[in-house]
């Protein structure tokens, strides 16, 4: 039975349980008491919950483990003897076998996959039925248990509400689990990396060329300093040189000068810049901006200029960041009390003098926090640099030359066909950990600055 039909079946059982319980509760012998503690519908919810939740929880777990079980059964079957030892090839054949199992007339399939298909089909069917049967059984068991509990004096509402409260608590704990999950997975894989490559070599080495790794001394070609520099150069220097003036001036113009109509139209327009997917920026950077920058470099007298310059990626990234800076600056300027502005204007200051000498200095902490957040955003940005920046790790101050970033290297390292435990793959996690820690620090500092600043005006 497919998962949807099964879910509906269980929900249907739950509904039946709900109706039964409510009907029974309506007829309860009240024994002199004027009112029940719980409404009939709440008894219904109690039974419905017991009918639905256990099988659904079981199904979630089961759908997690059953593909593994099917796979194990197939691999142990005699027909799997001819499978390749290479994980990649084996997975590909298994995937094709699954395809054939679904559609026997699939035209393009490996002969071995055709052989395996019946085994796959049989195994999946068996585990699917086991799961279905167990789920339905659980539903009935839950319903029976719950129906046996309800009585006139049963406090169904408290039980239902306590379960709901548990649900709320679990939902909010997921944020912590995710944070822990990120930290553990990055930290664990990085630990394995640092067992093979000394951490100092990784953090302070200036040579990065993961294509050729000496098995005896993998750290020699895994020094990440060029990546850190490239990330800083593109994300925190070039992009910010675009984003800060444009973002700040846009916010100033829209809050202090523009008419209400202009503001109503231009603000969402600028915010659209933040809504454009990064892959679109990346494509635009690679296709339009990078060749233009290269032409400029040639004009400036560098005939061998890279078409994957740091400038192209940084420029486009800067444009992408404009709305972040602008909206943070907007908020900070709005938080400056109007009495400041009035005080300055009443002394005969022009609007621009008021902005540059009173409003911006007063809003500075908020603006600085916004810039920190923007930097954290820029150095974590991936697609623009993957598509427009170079893979060559060089340390350069020339924006017309190529530079690479941490995020680009993570993608490059993990999308090749390397096996899971090589230093090359694990290096991606070490880079990820570095990126995570740096962005986390930037955010903490920025949020703290913003909080202090808000308090100052409240």
């Amino acid at each position: 039975m497919n998962p949807f039909a099964l879910s509906f079946l269980i929900l249907g059982l739950g509904l039946i349980g709900w109706l039964t319980a409510r009907a029974r509760a309506v007829r309860f012998d009240r024994g002199g008491a004027k009112r029940l503690h719980s409404l009939p519908a709440q008894h219904g919810w109690f039974v419905g919950m017991w009918t639905i939740l256990p099988p659904l929880l079981f199904l979630v777990v089961w759908s997690g483990i059953s593909p593994g079980l099917v796979r194990q059964t197939v691999l142990q079957s005699p027909a799997a003897a001819g499978l390749s030892d290479f994980a990649f090839e084996r997975d590909s054949v298994l995937a094709q076998a699954r395809e054939v199992a679904k559609n026997p007339y699939e035209t393009e399939a490996d002969p071995l996959a055709r052989q395996l298909a019946p085994v796959v089909r049989a195994a999946s069917r068996r585990y699917a039925w086991t799961g279905t049967a167990a789920a339905v059984l659980l539903a009935f068991a839950g319903a029976a248990f719950a129906l046996s509990r309800i009585r006139a004096d049963f406090r169904a509402r408290s039980k239902v509400e306590r379960t709901l409260m548990m649900g709320l608590l679990v939902a909010s704990l997921i944020a912590i689990f995710t944070t822990i999950g990120i930290f553990v997975s990055l930290f664990w894989e990085s630990l394995r990396f640092f067992q093979q490559v000394p951490i100092t070599q990784f953090l302070f080495g200036t040579h990065w060329s993961p294509q050729v790794i000496d098995a005896k001394d993998p750290g020699a070609s895994l020094g990440a300093v060029p990546l850190f520099w490239g990330t800083f150069f593109i994300g925190a220097v070039i992009a910010m040189l675009v984003a800060i003036p444009f973002g700040l001036m846009s916010a100033v113009y829209l809050t202090q000068y523009a008419s209400a109509t202009t503001r109503r139209w231009m603000k969402p327009t600028l915010e659209m810049l933040a809504g454009v997917p990064t892959v679109v920026y990346g494509y635009f950077a690679a296709l339009t901006v990078a060749p233009a920058v290269r032409k400029l470099a040639v004009l400036l007298g560098d005939p061998f200029a890279s078409s994957e310059s740091a400038l192209a990626a940084g420029l486009v990234m800067g444009v992408m960041i404009i709305p972040f800076v602008s909206s943070m600056a907007d908020d900070s300027l709005a938080a400056v009390p109007t009495s400041m502005r009035d005080g300055s204007l009443a002394m005969g200051a022009t609007t621009s003098e008021t902005i540059s000498r009173v409003l911006v200095p007063a809003a500075l902490p908020g603006v600085v926090a916004g810039v920190l957040l923007a930097v954290s955003r820029a150095i974590g940005e991936t697609m623009i640099v993957v598509m427009a920046a170079s893979g060559a790790a060089t340390i350069t101050l020339n924006p017309l030359q190529s530079a690479t970033t941490v995020t680009k290297q993570i993608v490059d390292l993990l999308t090749g066909e390397a096996e899971f435990d090589s230093p090359k793959t694990l290096a991606a996690f070490a880079l990820g950990l570095t990126l995570f820690v740096i962005t986390l620090l930037l955010n903490i500092v920025a949020l703290r600055v913003v909080k202090k600043y808000r308090e100052a005006y409240e």
Partner: protein
């Protein structure tokens, strides 16, 4: 004007002195410059957006069109040996392929368009014939004309960007009147291919939809429930603080980190007590992509929902509590319905962000070459942004317009989502 005493201290400012007038003029000039700079920043930013969109439209519109050639063909005379009854079985595709339909089509092209004729046809041209035959089996017995897609090179030549041989072919076929340009339905109904003429976005779009469904099913309930907990019930203690800090930081973690999380958590194998477990979820599938993106946008939904819940005035809670509603009833009967528009707006914005996301999905393998649309949540699949990325890497010139066209499709979907969010916000916006 002033008393002598004041004059002794300091002469009153003579605002009409030439020096002062000059200074005033200079200050006004600075004021104008500043204002122009501000307007310039806004206009340039908007112009960049306009330029980007225009570039995409200019390059992408051609991706929605297809060049078709009217191919006269007589399947029986060209020696296609197949029984009409075979076409009704599910094995029809296999049967037509093994009967040599592809060669028959090539021969027909050579006869109709000259010696180079077969090269004018897209590699997928015979599939168009196959489809026509399956729709109307009587074509097996009679002479007919089928519109088949032209080769990429032919299409380029038609756009004035091809090699001389092809351009000669274009000229000849134009004279024959065999060229037909129309809307490329294939682009909306098919999936990836190695041939730019035959590609479509449907496979990637469906992958995106399946992924988004998983993302929504996880992120929406979890996000809303945890917002309710934090805003309405959470005691003020260290644990609650920890949850808040986690959410605020998760909202700012780079998306690629979530890709690493998905890769290590859901696709990695775990050694526990000598047994190896995992991978928990199938690689390259909407399921793992959806779960990863759900974790990524959940903080966005939590933050938006909390703001919406905060916006419901306390008087409403007091009123409900006052008539004896339980705290759970207060929230689910009164607060939540009132906060729903704000929650939905935040959710749509989060979903739009997930829909445009590429980097984490690259890491968890959703970059498969998918020629048929995924059938379910566990099939290998790709998503629209990743498809765009994959096509942008292709060398063939024909992919440029397809990439831009796919971008237009993605932007259209995103625009629709954001439009919906703005509509919801305006329609249900309540002033308390």
């Amino acid at each position: 004007m002033s008393k002598p005493a004041a004059q002794a201290e300091r002469r009153p400012t003579d605002w009409n002195s030439p020096a002062m007038q000059k200074r005033i003029r200079r200050r006004y000039a600075a004021e104008r410059r500043f204002r122009v700079l501000g307007a310039g920043a806004v206009i340039l930013s908007a112009a960049f957006l306009g330029f980007l969109l225009l570039t995409m439209v200019a390059q992408g519109w051609r991706g929605f069109t297809v060049t078709e050639l009217a191919l006269p063909i007589d399947l029986k005379a060209d020696g296609l040996k197949i029984e009409r009854s075979q076409l009704a079985t599910p094995a029809a595709d296999l049967a037509l392929a093994s009967a040599g339909l592809e060669d028959v089509v090539d021969n027909a092209a050579t006869r109709a368009f000259g010696a180079d004729g077969a090269t004018y046809l897209a590699p997928s041209a015979w599939l168009a014939v196959r489809g026509a035959v399956k729709r109307d089996p009587s074509l097996l017995e009679r002479r007919t004309t089928v519109y088949v897609p032209a080769a990429t090179g032919f299409d380029r030549a038609l756009a004035g960007d091809g090699d001389p041989a092809m351009e000669a072919g274009v000229a000849r076929l134009t004279r024959q009147g065999a060229i037909h340009r129309g809307f490329n339905w294939t682009f909306l109904s098919e999936s990836d291919s190695t041939d730019p003429v035959a590609v479509g976005v449907w496979g990637a779009l469906k992958g995106s939809l399946l992924t988004m469904a998983i993302t929504f099913l996880i992120a929406f309930p979890v996000g809303v429930l945890s917002a309710i907990y934090l805003e309405e019930y959470a005691p003020k203690n260290r644990w609650t603080d920890l949850i808040e800090v986690s959410i605020n930081n998760l909202a700012a973690v780079p998306s690629i980190i979530f890709g690493l999380l998905g890769l290590a958590m859901f696709l990695g194998t775990w050694q526990i007590g000598g047994h190896s477990f995992g991978p928990m979820l199938p690689r390259s599938a909407p399921l793992v992509g959806g779960v990863t993106l759900a974790l990524m946008i959940m903080p966005v939904i939590v933050i938006a929902s909390r703001n919406a819940i905060k916006g419901v005035p306390p008087s409403i809670r007091d009123a409900a509590l006052g008539i004896g509603a339980s705290p759970i009833q207060v929230v689910f009967h009164h607060v939540l319905p009132l906060a729903m528009p704000g929650i939905l707006t935040g959710t749509i914005i989060g979903m739009a962000r997930a829909l445009g996301e590429t980097a984490p999905l690259l890491l968890i393998g959703m970059r498969a070459f998918i020629v048929t649309a995924p059938g379910g949540f566990t099939d290998p699949s790709t998503v629209l942004p990743v498809q765009i990325f994959l096509w942008s890497d292709e060398v063939s010139r024909g992919f440029v317009e397809k990439t831009s066209a796919a971008i237009l499709v993605l932007l259209a979907v995103l625009l629709a989502m954001n439009g919906l969010a703005i509509y919801l916000r305006n329609k249900f916006e309540t002033r308390w």
